[in-house]
Subunit: 372 residues, 2 copies
Amino acid sequence: MLERFKADQNEMVFVESKSLKKISKEILVKEGMRPSFAASVSEALVAADMRGADTHGASNLIQPYVDWIRNKKTNPDPILRKVQDFAAIANFDADNGLVTGFGKEAMNIAVDKAKKFGVGVVTIKNAGHSGAIGTHAMHAVEKDMIGMVMTAVNPIVVPTFGAEQRLGTNPIAVAAPAKNEADFLFDVATSTIAGGKAKLVELAGKKLGAYTIAEPNGEPIKDEVSLPDMTFEDVLFLPFGGTRDSGSHKGYGFAMIAEIMSGILSGCESLMINNSRDDPRGALNSHFFAAFNIAAFGDVEKFKTNMDQMLIKLKETKPSPGNNRVIYPGLLEREEEIFRIKNGIPIHKNLVEWLDSLSKQYGIEKIHRRRG
Amino acid sequence: MLERFKADQNEMVFVESKSLKKISKEILVKEGMRPSFAASVSEALVAADMRGADTHGASNLIQPYVDWIRNKKTNPDPILRKVQDFAAIANFDADNGLVTGFGKEAMNIAVDKAKKFGVGVVTIKNAGHSGAIGTHAMHAVEKDMIGMVMTAVNPIVVPTFGAEQRLGTNPIAVAAPAKNEADFLFDVATSTIAGGKAKLVELAGKKLGAYTIAEPNGEPIKDEVSLPDMTFEDVLFLPFGGTRDSGSHKGYGFAMIAEIMSGILSGCESLMINNSRDDPRGALNSHFFAAFNIAAFGDVEKFKTNMDQMLIKLKETKPSPGNNRVIYPGLLEREEEIFRIKNGIPIHKNLVEWLDSLSKQYGIEKIHRRRG
């Protein structure tokens, strides 16, 4: 993670992951969420925290999730309703529930289909927030499969050459198992920056990088810049690549792929047409999950050995000036996980206060701080 | 296509597509290719020409393909040998044949599996050049499916923060059917520029865009630049995104996805390990094909109507200053196809001369020029 996304370390408190998971679940239940669903949501949130994906962890999302339940922007007791089920594929309606809570189940259905057919695909429509989609992709890796997840969300990104928001930050994640190396775990927004990260930059009082957002007329801003003083949802974000020359039309295309595979394939209108910002139910996202069964294609051990060879070759690449090493997607996440297993999860002291106040209100156990 | 890729129009001759297909096939046969395979190769090449993908058309590839047959860098009589076949997936060995010629067959196998199972996946290892992978993806669209194709090729791209070539230009293509709009057709290199396009820029005596290549020490070059005076295969190309700030780590990640889904899943070592530049047989690429059967997920007509709505919304986006319109992947390709159906395919006069000389040598019919 770049420095600009990091909060001031003096303001962070280290907490136990088990305790964060427990209190997140209990608060969601007290707010009206079905206990089994609250457990799934909390598990996915804290898995993201453990990998350092703070934007998608409980550390950043438990407060908005509580807000959304209170404002009826998400259904706290959703049913994953089957719309289609045909051999290796299935399509579901999420009943406006958080896919943070349905992600593991969806990937496990894709995995079960991949066991039978070599590949399995699940789409979900009418869904809430996705959580960290890389976390869902990793559930395929646990079963020696490649996991792929995409999400279509509300538009805040301009297409290349455009001056109006048309695309979501539509993330794409792919995860694949290695042998001794960290598993490959790629999980990115197709915008230059994820919405949650842009908010973290703002909170930390820092600047966005070059080519992250556009002027109101659509021109890419080539310098570091503060978030403009306007409603966050109205800022014109750029597709990754930033400009046509360095490939923004490709970032734009990948955002469209997520829109098509998640939104249109699952039977929604595109969020460009049916923008849920105006919908009182809140986000109406859609999702795509695929599992590829490595054993159906060939030998799993050979696959993992070849993954290790490739990942080591990448790690050992001579770095360019100013960089001390080359990394691959999943390496920092694994390193952070090892660190956090030992040291706990850093969360902002304001969040600790908020959690403590809810603990008192609901009469539940306070979150465990690590000893300093 | 950007201006820098266009050859001087005075040096171009318009020819009939049927005639270009016929002569390409006949030359490949005379050079030793099996007639049925030569027909498939020529069909795919000219389909790319028709869409304006000149780098991957006969206009740019028939000469190197003849060279590769003569230098035994490709097998002119290859058998697509089944390695694995399990329900919705299959894995093949291409016997070092051009996937330009096997692409339609591979996608049709994926399509047949998707008819039965909702999704079909085919991987191919030990293969030659891919041709325009978007052309293969479009064979799924003809059957009302979404097509996805990826390819892993020899490394010429540096990873983000790196100073050594580790990744191919590994292209990814996705195609999806629209109703009245041009079909969605996304087909890009995961490097800032495709190798073939860089060569065209050089031929046209023009410059590469900003953030296309790196200095020999790995530093991204931020200005327009001529190709350095060195072996093309030794130039350090950048992943698309160009720099970390504008998202090169995402271009790098997508290149790895193509490497994993094509190369490692099909049972090859990664080309990072087993670089075929040193292999006398020439390219040993690998490929991934997937077809997603829209009818299994929901209603095909609704899908296409929703596609149209989205594509029209994109086309009608207000452009940013200096741009006269917003386009979507597939729109220019369709417009070029309509133009070329009417006017023929522009090919360089030097290529016409070369074709004429081979026609004479082999006693086959000369290529048909369009009337001026």
